[in-house]
Amino acid sequence: MVTLVSMIEIATSPTTTTLVIAGELDLQERDQFPGIAARVVGLRRQLLVIDMCRVTFMDSTGAAFLISLADSGAKRGGATVIRGADERDLFVLEVCGAMDLFRIDNEHRCEPATPATGFHVVTPRMIAADRADRRAM
């Protein structure tokens, strides 16, 4: 049976908090976002790693959650790494204007728990150049 509720696990080491998210990250999960954010911030680690290998879906509400985590980390001088995000997840983060808040780990390879979504990034004509610049960064 497919579980519809996303699972969010927090693991920590002296320097790093790792957030492992599984399932669908949308409005339905919104109620648990503030509690998790509070715990992550309370750990006060310099590095936050968000593992999205098992995320099957994320929309703007889920992205806003990740952004709020990265934003509060950045305010303390910390960094946030996202790994295992697929094209669509990155697209959502990018539309939300948050790519500069994250470092993207493209090297990470864990067991593919979710099939590739086959998502194609759509690049609007108007701001294609701008986006290309941002990608280059």
Partner: protein, 811 residues
């Protein structure tokens, strides 16, 4: 008509010409009148034959025309056939129309001759007036303008007509139309005399006056009914926010100022009918609504107040006599309390208790009228605006002719009958309208809330593909007697209910609601469908449910190997269908009587299910038509079902609806359950309809359901790249859940050039693409949609429809 004329006295003597028919007046009086006047005026004119005062008045020119005198030797000058002159004179003397002759205007129009009728109508004796100026009768002219006009014409020597009051006759003065015709001397054309004819037009004038009066009355009535009609028209659109203000402005035609106030636990000004928060008509906390300054700006008559605001003594400036310190009678509150339906007078120039209705209204009017009208009247009239059961508010008017009254404590108002009538009608209509709007809003809210609570909702059941459809046929209700339920009883058991309460009115819906709860309760306790229905029978028998109902209860079991089986029991309901690879199996076991009539033991039918099997539950609205028996309808359904090719539950449902429910005459409920077949479904896409629809409750779990529906549909349509559609649907439905009202309708269309997604909710406010903020959740949803699709929105019913057309990824 007469023009200038000349005449002479007939040759056969004056007596003949005038006297015989009317003895006293003509000859004698003339002579006697002329004599003294002539002498008074001076010597006869130089020609010696004419003693006309006109001539004597100073013209000094010989006059060929003269007043007839006995001594005239006329035939010497102007031969005239005696018979004609005689007749004219006789006629003039005896005619019933007053005729008189005066001298020239320059001489002051001395009266030279008059006939008997003149004496009679003017109620004078000619002898009293003979030779005197006509102006002694001048006070009888109608109005000064007429008099001026008369003078002008006389001076110019032109014929003139005017209206004059005739003498009193029987105590009533009448009206005459007076015509003065100039008579010119033949040789030099000067006007030497005036012939006056007066016609009694009293009756005509009376009639005219009556007509004018009734016309004015009619105009007034027409204006009033116009005003009432306009009021009614304004009240037709109760949603217009200034309906009461506009009506008050309309009333400005009959009164100086008018304003509406409503009482909603305290009086407050009303410009429109507030449906969301309508006046209750109750409560007396009138200080709650204070616009601007609480204290009156011009309160010359305010008394001294204690700390609670009650007046204890008259103020210095008050004109109210000592001892009359405070209006203890709060007649405005009495009006609000329904202690009388007659309008009352509120005196603004005497102090009222501060927190009384009268006191509040006094302060409010002092402020408002000073602002709007630049002054405050001594008193206003307050009409109750009554609803069905209570007084909802007040219509306050400043009468156009107010201020005359000095009586402080008296019953009633200063309004005229007409004004009062109009105001009462308007106030009554406004009261009815407010009441109706309030009642309607309340009923509407109640009905909507209940209906929403009773609408069937589909649980999302993982592992099986479920599609539901519900269309009540009632005109004004969203619910009818049909229902379905999908219950996740345990991880292995899913309960399915479809039922139909007789009728499709509110009672049917209420019965449905009760039955639904009963079935749900037992479904979670007992797993065998026959037992569940038996328990339902028992309970319903004791509940006295007013309508009979049919239903099917089925339980879907999944064993450890993932194989399914269905158990079901029917209570007078049409058999569910099992669609398997083009074959239709009627699940007609487990039959029994309608709910509540199950005196015999309920039985349970079973059937195993394979991957790719589709179960179809429906109510008779799907197949029932007046023009064919139910048996034929069932055959048509079997035929249609056998031809269904869709490989997703929604597709099966759409194919059914497309072919059967063209004109449903009853409520229709359909549940389609499909056991997914991951291998078989990947085969060549089928030719099922290229549209799908779902009704989703407004809750966060619907967002996931919507995404899964899109994925399944894309699979059924052979659209491989569903990731963008999933994202767009998720954002749109999330918006609907967050900002929309009521249920959310999701529709998908395969346009051939990309997927079109429609999401409809009951909130008419358009979606907004905000810039968002990183620290705030949400805000970027529409930006994501914007990047992936063309999108727009339009009003739809009471809400809105947001559509998005995905860009064709193949291109």
């Amino acid at each position: 008509m007469i023009g200038n004329l000349s005449w002479s006295v007939p040759p056969d003597g004056p007596g003949q010409g005038r006297t015989p028919p009317v003895p006293p007046l003509p000859a004698g009086p003339i002579t006697s009148a002329m004599g003294p006047r002539s002498s008074a005026m001076g010597p006869p004119s130089s020609d010696g034959e004419n003693a006309s005062p006109a001539a004597a008045g100073g013209s000094g020119v010989p006059e060929p025309l003269a007043a007839p005198r006995r001594t005239d030797p006329p035939q010497a000058r102007r031969p005239m056939p005696p018979s004609v002159g005689d007749l004219v004179l006789r006629g003039a003397a005896s005619i019933g129309v007053p005729v008189f002759l005066t001298g020239s205007f320059e001489d002051g129009l001395p009266l030279l001759w008059a006939n008997e009728a003149f004496e009679k109508y003017a109620d004078v004796r000619f002898t009293d007036l003979a030779g005197r100026k006509l102006s002694v009768l001048g006070d009888r002219l109608g109005d000064p303008e007429d008099f001026a006009k008369l003078r002008e014409h006389l001076a110019a020597g032109e014929e003139v007509q005017t209206m004059a009051r005739s003498a009193l006759r029987g105590g009533v003065s009448g009206w005459v139309q007076l015509t003065l015709t100039p008579a010119r001397a033949a040789h030099h054309g000067r006007v030497t005399h005036w012939i006056g004819i007066s016609v009694d037009v009293s009756e005509h004038m009376e009639r005219q006056a009556a007509q004018l009066a009734s016309q004015a009355m009619e105009n007034r009535q027409r204006e009033d009914s116009d005003l009432i009609a306009q009021t009614t028209e304004l009240l037709a659109d109760l949603e217009y926010p200034y309906v009461l203000r506009d009506i008050a402005e309309l009333l400005g035609h009959v009164v100086k100022w008018a304003g509406f106030y409503v009482n909603d636990d305290g009086l407050k000004p009303a410009e429109g009918i507030d449906v969301a928060n309508p006046p209750s008509g109750r409560g007396r906390r009138h200080a709650r609504y204070v616009a601007g300054d609480d204290q009156p700006r011009s309160a010359p008559h305010r008394g001294v107040q204690d700390q609670l605001g009650d007046t204890t003594a008259a103020g210095d400036a008050t004109t109210v006599a000592p001892g009359r310190l405070l209006e203890v009678v709060d007649n405005v509150q009495d009006l609000l309390d329904g202690k009388g339906d007659e309008p009352v007078t509120l005196h603004l120039d005497i102090p009222h208790a501060q927190y009384s209705a009268s006191g509040w209204l006094q302060r409010e009017l002092n402020r408002r009228l000073t602002d709007e009208m630049g002054g405050v009247p001594r008193s206003v009239v307050v009409h109750p605006v009554a609803g069905r059961k209570s007084t909802l508010g007040l219509l306050v008017v400043w009468l156009a002719d107010a201020g005359a009254d000095e009586v402080l404590f008296y019953e009633g108002t200063d309004e005229s009958e007409e004004v009062r009538g109009v105001l009462e009608v308007v106030a009554r209509r406004a009261g009815n309208a407010i009441d109706n709007a309030r009642l309607y809003a309340r009923e509407h809210r109640l009905a909507e809330t209940l209906q929403r609570a009773m609408l069937p909702e589909q649980a999302d059941v993982p592992g099986i593909d479920v599609w539901t459809y519900y269309a009540p046929n009632a005109e004004h209700a969203q619910v009818g007697g049909d229902w379905y339920d999908i219950l996740q009883i345990s991880t292995e058991v899913v309960g399915l209910v479809i039922g139909d309460v007789v009728g499709h009115d509110v009672e049917a819906a209420a019965t449905m609601g009760q039955l639904r709860s009963v079935v749900r309760s037992y479904a979670f306790e007992l797993f065998t469908p026959g037992q569940v229905l038996e328990k339902v029978d028992q309970l319903v028998a004791g509940m006295g449910i007013p309508r009979s109902a049919s239903m099917v209860y089925a339980a879907l079991h999944k064993d450890d190997e993932g194989c399914h089986a269905i158990e079901y029991s029917r209570a007078g309901h049409l058999p569910p269908l099992l669609l398997r690879a083009g074959e239709v199996i009627t699940l007609d076991q487990g039959g029994g009587a309608l709910i509540g009539f199950g005196s015999r033991e309920r039985t349970t039918g079973t059937h195993e299910l394979r991957r790719g099997d589709t179960l179809l539950f429906y109510t008779d609205g799907l197949i029932e038509r007046r023009d064919r028996p139910l048996r034929l309808g069932l055959e048509a359904l079997l035929e249609t079902a056998a031809a269904i090719q869709a490989k997703d539950a929604a597709g099966v449902g759409e194919e059914l609806l497309a072919r059967l429910a063209d004109k449903p005459e009853d409520d229709v409920a359909i549940v389609v359950v499909r056991v997914p077949d991951p291998e078989g479904d990947r085969a060549q896409p089928t030719l099922s309809p290229r549209w799908r629809r779902w009704m989703l409750p407004s809750e966060p779990s619907s967002i996931g359901r919507a995404r899964h529906a899109v994925l399944r549909t894309c699979q059924a349509w052979g659209i491989e790249e569903s990731a963008q559609a999933e994202l767009v649907v998720s954002e749109l439905v999330a918006n609907g859940v967050l900002h929309g009202w009521g249920h959310i309708a999701l529709r998908l269309y395969d346009t051939g050039e990309g997927l079109r997604i429609e999401v409809e909710d009951s909130n008419p406010a358009p979606p907004v693409a905000t810039d968002g903020h990183p620290n705030r959740l949400g805000g970027f949803g529409m930006q994501i949609v914007d990047r992936l699709a063309e999108w727009g929105w339009r009003p739809s019913g009471t809400g809105k429809l947001v559509w998005a057309k995905l860009r064709d990824q193949a291109k």
